[in-house]
């Protein structure tokens, strides 16, 4: 337990600095954007120069940059991300509404890529250099070269347009009034294609990492010892070789989370999934810079939290992690 606390404390201190830099960076981007909140407001409501002056003063936009940065930070501390121009609602509410969908999409895609990727990686790494290993290595490289949004379109052409097995987009059937399990099943069928499009790209990554780690582990002394003890091959592969190659994959889960969030932007817009990624695209289309930067901040927090969870899992799996600091 003390180990978990040590890791938690160390990571949180670092995260505060990182978040502060992200906030300052997004503030600078906001400043660089042409026009400010008043301009955006006036465009939709209309108003004269006196009105603009008054609003600028009331919203604190006529103050120095440093004061405005302080105001921005102060508002963020109260979880206030400002007002969205396109939705005419608080940005926080809009983001929180979309977040669960993206988490569901990312979680399912991660499970798919990690599960299938490591399984295929074990299959390839069980016999490095064999025909199936070579085949899977080339195949995964080819898969890794596929742009996720294009894979999504190809899947739509085959499974939604030609075969009509799966819905073409959206997260659930509109106005179907389904509840409970029926609704869950409906959402699941809608998620099959987007999850595949997002997950298959990263599957290749886990496959290649698992395979490389196993190829390395085969040369280690403990594998030689296991062979000398006459253990069955299956047991050597799973309990000795694959097990040792698995740990780096867990780290990769955290590192990959930022990329997967980025990937979900395009996937969500291909499949019209109303999540955070599609919201980002809507923010771009509506020139809603504060909303876009709010999404970036929330994504950064999400990535930090995911990495923290991965670190804790890692510490649970590998007793050596964090033990040094705990005893010191």
């Amino acid at each position: 337990m003390t180990r978990a606390l040590t890791i938690l404390r160390r990571r949180l201190v670092g995260s505060v600095f990182v978040l502060l830099i992200v906030v300052i960076g997004s503030f600078l981007l906001l400043e660089a954007a042409p026009g400010d909140a008043v301009d955006a407001y006036i465009v939709s409501t209309g108003g004269d120069a006196g009105m603009i002056e008054l609003l600028r003063h009331r919203w604190g936009l006529d103050q120095s940059e440093l004061t405005r940065l302080a105001n921005y930070l102060w508002a963020l501390l109260h979880f206030d991300l400002g007002q969205s121009v396109t939705f005419s609602r608080p940005i926080r509410d809009v983001i929180l509404e979309r977040l669960p969908t993206t988490l569901l999409l990312m979680g399912s895609a991660t499970a798919l890529s990690f599960g299938l990727g490591s399984a295929l990686g074990i299959y390839a790494g069980a016999a490095p250099g064999s025909l199936r290993d070579r085949f899977l290595s080339i195949g995964s490289l080819a898969l890794y070269a596929v742009p996720g949004f294009w894979l999504g379109l190809v899947l739509i052409v085959f499974f939604a347009v030609d075969l009509r097995w799966l819905p073409i987009g959206g997260i659930e059937t509109i106005a179907s009034a389904k509840t409970g399990l029926a609704r869950a099943a409906d959402i699941a069928t809608h998620l099959v294609l987007p999850v595949s499009a997002l997950g298959f790209i990263y599957l290749a990554l886990y496959l290649r990492m698992m395979r490389a780690g196993m190829a390395e582990a085969w040369r280690q002394d403990f594998v030689l010892a296991a062979r000398a003890r006459g253990l069955p091959r299956r047991r050597i592969v799973l309990a000795h070789v694959a097990r040792n190659a698995l740990l780096p994959l867990v780290t990769m889960l955290g590192l990959q989370s930022a990329q997967m969030l980025g990937g979900s932007v395009v996937i969500e817009s291909v499949f019209a999934v109303p999540g955070l990624g599609r919201l980002a695209q809507e923010a771009v289309a509506g020139r809603d810079t504060p909303l876009l930067l709010g999404i970036i901040l929330v994504s950064a927090v999400l990535v930090i939290v995911i990495n923290l969870l991965v670190d804790l899992t890692y510490a649970f799996l590998d007793p050596r992690v964090g033990a040094g600091e705990a005893s010191a």
Partner: protein, 276 residues
């Protein structure tokens, strides 16, 4: 010559090099084979492929020659991919060298900034940057570089940390060279090989990011891009799926070529290292 032969030893490297060579030829030949504006109307709209031999791959929704667009798109993809990767490697190498060589507070600050850039999803950052500054070729290159320099920076820093303890660096200090001169003339060139080993992955990622940006309508509107072609074809996905599928295949082959050539390059240099 023997260097080239060593590189072209595996079938993967040969395949990768051939794809890239073909692509470079396509990009360079685009203005010669298809002079004029590739975005101009060339024939009837939505002509299927292999019907009219003056328009072998048919036309899109607006009657533009798909083959001409494909050739010009190769030019954009390669130019953006290479320029963005070069910029990312340069920024990464400079930041990594400064952080590793200076140490102390400068190192701490630079690495926290690197952390921050790695925490924000790279594609979202590129998206925000392009949408705020406005889409043009240079901005797209900068946006992609901005989201890709952190990997090279970490590798360069790790390498510099080991190099700065070497005797020749101490020697440079003794003869009174300026620290910045030591960092960039003595340390950086020697720290480059592992950084450059990342280049194939970074070029591939840059090409894919450019494609995704232009797919979302954030590419340079005056240039034909494969991502933009896929987005164009998407509007007629039910009736003319080839319009989206053909440029996608070009993208996959390009990125695959970059990966394969990169693996061949790493393998050929690795063997040379173990022999000497």
């Amino acid at each position: 010559m023997s260097r080239l032969r060593r590189f072209l030893r595996t079938p993967e490297a040969i395949a990768g090099a051939s794809i890239l060579a073909l692509l470079v030829v396509m990009a360079l030949a685009a203005p010669l084979l298809f002079p004029g504006d590739p975005q101009a109307i060339a024939g009837p709209a939505l002509l299927p492929p292999f019907q009219d031999w003056s328009l072998p791959l048919g036309t899109d929704r607006l009657g533009r020659d798909v083959l001409a667009e494909l050739f010009h798109g190769a030019h954009t993809s390669l130019a953006v991919g290479l320029a963005a990767a070069a910029a990312a490697l340069l920024i990464g190498a400079v930041v990594g060298t400064l952080a590793g060589f200076a140490g102390g507070l400068a190192d701490e600050v630079l690495m926290r900034i690197t952390d921050a850039f790695q925490t924000v999803p790279g594609f979202l950052l590129a998206l925000a940057f392009v949408s705020i500054v406005g889409p043009s070729l240079g901005v797209v290159v900068a946006a992609i570089a901005l989201s890709a320099w952190t990997g090279p920076a970490r590798v360069a820093r790790a390498e510099v940390l080991s190099i700065r303890e070497r005797d020749y660096v101490a020697g440079a200090r003794v003869i009174g060279m300026h620290p910045l001169e030591i960092a960039f003339r003595e340390v950086l060139p020697n720290a480059l090989p592992p950084v450059l080993a990342l280049s194939s992955v970074i070029v591939a990622a840059a090409i894919l990011t450019e494609a995704a940006l232009s797919f979302l309508g954030l590419g340079d509107p005056n240039r034909v891009t494969w991502g933009g072609m896929i987005a164009e074809g998407r509007t007629v996905l039910r009736t003319a799926p080839f319009l989206s599928i053909v440029p996608g295949i070009a993208l996959v082959l390009t990125v695959l070529g970059v990966y394969l050539a990169g693996e061949g390059l790493v393998e050929s240099t690795a063997t040379r290292g173990s022999l000497s």
